[in-house]
């Protein structure tokens, strides 16, 4: 009987602690939180720190605020001049609106899948209109900028902000490498032949001039001698 007040005190302390734990939650710097009450979203917590929620009823879903990468696998794309290239893209996106994000795609994996599709279709459309040599020039930035704008526009309803889309790699497919090697080889051979022939030409010229000079000198000397 003497222990009962102690037990009550201990019990209240524990209940209080538990309650506090259930009502408070932290949002770390790299996260943002969405509070869902009984299945329906009620609010977002964008700034990090200590926040309050209703215990038991509210659940908190955390989303990353950081810039997330998307590195889809390589694709083969046909350009405007019918050349094929293998393209690796990369995308950097951020969850800008957790509410819309939760409503549309809910998880980051889903978001990635959808973004991959958007990027792929936009890429094919843009690149189908350009030539290879414009990709290999100053125009590359402009083309990539167009792709980014298109994808950003399509991703906004999902609550995603697409910060950057870039071409990681744009190369000719492996199968055509051999043809390129042959072309490079033949170009070099032509250059080498030209150089050697020119060297021969100079040599001939110098030799002939020298012999002419010699003959002239000798005949000049012979003339008065006769």
């Amino acid at each position: 009987m003497k222990r009962l007040p102690k037990l009550i005190i201990a019990g209240t302390i524990f209940a209080g602690a538990w309650g506090l734990n259930a009502a408070l939650y932290t949002v770390v710097e790299t996260q943002q939180a969405l509070v869902v009450r009984l299945g329906a979203p009620v609010g977002t917590a964008g700034t990090p720190g200590l926040k309050v929620k209703v215990p038991l009823i509210d659940t908190v879903i955390y989303y990353d605020t950081r810039l997330l990468p998307l590195n889809p696998p390589s694709e083969q794309i046909i350009l405007g001049d019918q050349k094929r290239i293998e393209v690796d893209t990369y995308t950097r996106f951020r969850i800008a609106d957790p509410l819309r994000f939760y409503q549309s795609v809910r998880t980051v994996e889903q978001a990635r899948a959808q973004l991959t599709q958007m990027v792929s279709s936009s890429l094919r459309r843009e690149l189908g209109q350009v030539m290879l040599h414009s990709l290999l020039s100053e125009d590359r930035a402009r083309i990539v900028g167009n792709i980014r704008k298109e994808v950003a526009f399509k991703a906004r309803p999902l609550g995603i902000e697409v910060v950057e889309v870039g071409l990681h790699r744009a190369d000719l497919p492996f199968e055509t490498s051999q043809a390129i090697y042959d072309r490079m080889k033949s170009e070099r051979q032509r250059e080498a032949k030209e150089l050697r022939a020119q060297g021969f030409e100079w040599a001939q010229e110098i030799q002939a001039k020298a012999e002419r000079e010699r003959t002239v000198n000798l005949s000049k000397a012979e003339r008065p001698s006769r």
């Binding site: 200590l50 060297g199 000397a221």
Partner: protein, 386 residues
């Protein structure tokens, strides 16, 4: 566990939400509410969270078993609280920055030294290494062995004139802004790698192959550095690129011999020219010398002929002088000299045709003419002696 009370929750990265790359890769260490090196050694236990009390309460079990007593309990509680409060002391190493989070919110950045923050779970500190220069290797890193053509094609890229080169480079970087590095980018090192490859390919794609191979390498390295820094700043990765070094730009190994042949052809060209010039330098002076010699010989011949002619003329003149003085003697003398000169070259036979000395001499028949000069024929002597 004994009787020490375990307070607080053990922190972990899941809770903090820090993804890959925030642990081992960048040399980041997380202060979990305990002590770094230095500090008071006997309060709190470092990274175990707030295990408190040191088990001192266990030692007190003994004859006073019926209860710890109010005072004992209070003492334990007081020590626990003190230990907990003291877990807030932390030290920042000279090559680090301290980033302090309160309930996950970033409130402060501290410089190297000893500092205090409110104990866990209120505050937490992270220590990114900001002065360390890290190196990222592109190209060569993925396996040094030569097998597999697929391997090789990973670092092949197109140049501005649709040729292929293989390029390796290394990027030296450091953390520019700890806050951005930790909180704004997911896996900043992975993003750096992708951005670096992308920048390299873009810059190589803008230059023709000859400038990439020979004269513009330094410029290309600068351009890659600028492009990469620009990309990283757009992504707010908090990384500063200190240097980009191009280690190797070569044509693909299948065509490298053809490229080397062009170098050899240049050398051959130069050599042909040099040889021709050497030849020219040889024969022209020789010809000059020859010309000089001919001229000299002609001069000499001219002088010689003139002198000889003068000499002949002089000797004729002196003979004429004596001729005019005594014609007959000089004429006879000239005749004798001429006969002498003529007969000296002929073979001679002497025949006595007067008939006085010898009788019945056969005239000489020249059987061995021209060979030598027989002095006398034996037949006439034999006829003579009879």
């Amino acid at each position: 566990m004994g009787c020490g009370r375990y307070r607080g929750r053990r922190p972990d990265d899941q809770r903090l939400g820090l993804g890959p790359g925030s642990g081992a890769g960048s040399g980041l260490t997380v202060h979990r509410g305990g002590f770094r090196s230095g500090g008071k050694p006997d309060r709190g236990q470092g990274s175990q969270g707030g295990r408190v009390g040191g088990g001192r309460g266990c030692g007190r079990r003994g004859p006073r078993h019926p209860g710890l007593g109010g005072r004992g309990l209070g003492l334990i509680a007081g020590l626990a609280v003190l230990g907990w409060v003291l877990t807030g002391i932390y030290k920042v190493q000279p090559d680090e920055q301290g980033v302090v989070l309160r309930f996950g919110k970033w409130i402060d950045t501290t410089s190297p030294g000893l500092h205090y923050h409110l104990p866990y779970p209120i505050d937490m500190a992270i220590f990114p290494k900001v002065t360390q220069i890290n190196q990222l290797q592109l190209g060569k890193a993925e396996g040094a062995d030569q097998n597999g053509a697929r391997q090789v094609s990973r670092n092949q890229m197109l140049t501005g004139d649709e040729n292929l080169v293989e390029a390796d480079c290394s990027v030296l970087w450091q953390v520019k802004d700890a806050g951005q590095f930790l909180f704004k980018a997911y896996d900043p090192e992975g993003m750096l790698k992708v951005a670096a490859e992308s920048a390299l390919r873009e810059v190589i794609g803008r230059n023709p192959i000859q400038s990439a191979l020979s004269d513009k390498r330094q410029q290309i390295a600068e351009q890659v550095k600028d492009a990469l820094q620009h990309l990283l700043d757009t992504e707010e990765a908090g990384i500063l690129v200190t240097q980009v070094q191009l280690q190797r730009i070569d044509p693909p190994s299948a065509v490298i011999d053809a490229f080397n042949d062009v170098q050899r052809a240049r050398a051959d060209q130069q050599r042909a020219r040099n040889e021709a010039e050497a030849y020219a330098n040889d024969i022209i002076p020789r010809a000059r010398g020859e010309a000089g010699r001919i001229t000299q010989e002609a001069e000499a011949y001219k002088t010689q002929i003139l002198n000889l002619a003068e000499g002949d003329a002089k000797s004729f003149q002196s003979v004429y002088q004596s001729y005019t003085q005594s014609k007959d003697v000089t004429a006879w003398r000239l005749y004798l000299e001429s006969m002498d000169a003529v007969l000296a070259k002929a073979s001679k036979v002497i025949i006595d045709s007067s008939g006085k000395g010898v009788s019945g001499v056969l005239p000489y028949m020249p059987l061995a003419e021209g060979k030598d000069k027989p002095a006398a024929v034996p037949a006439p002597s034999a006829g003579g002696s009879r």
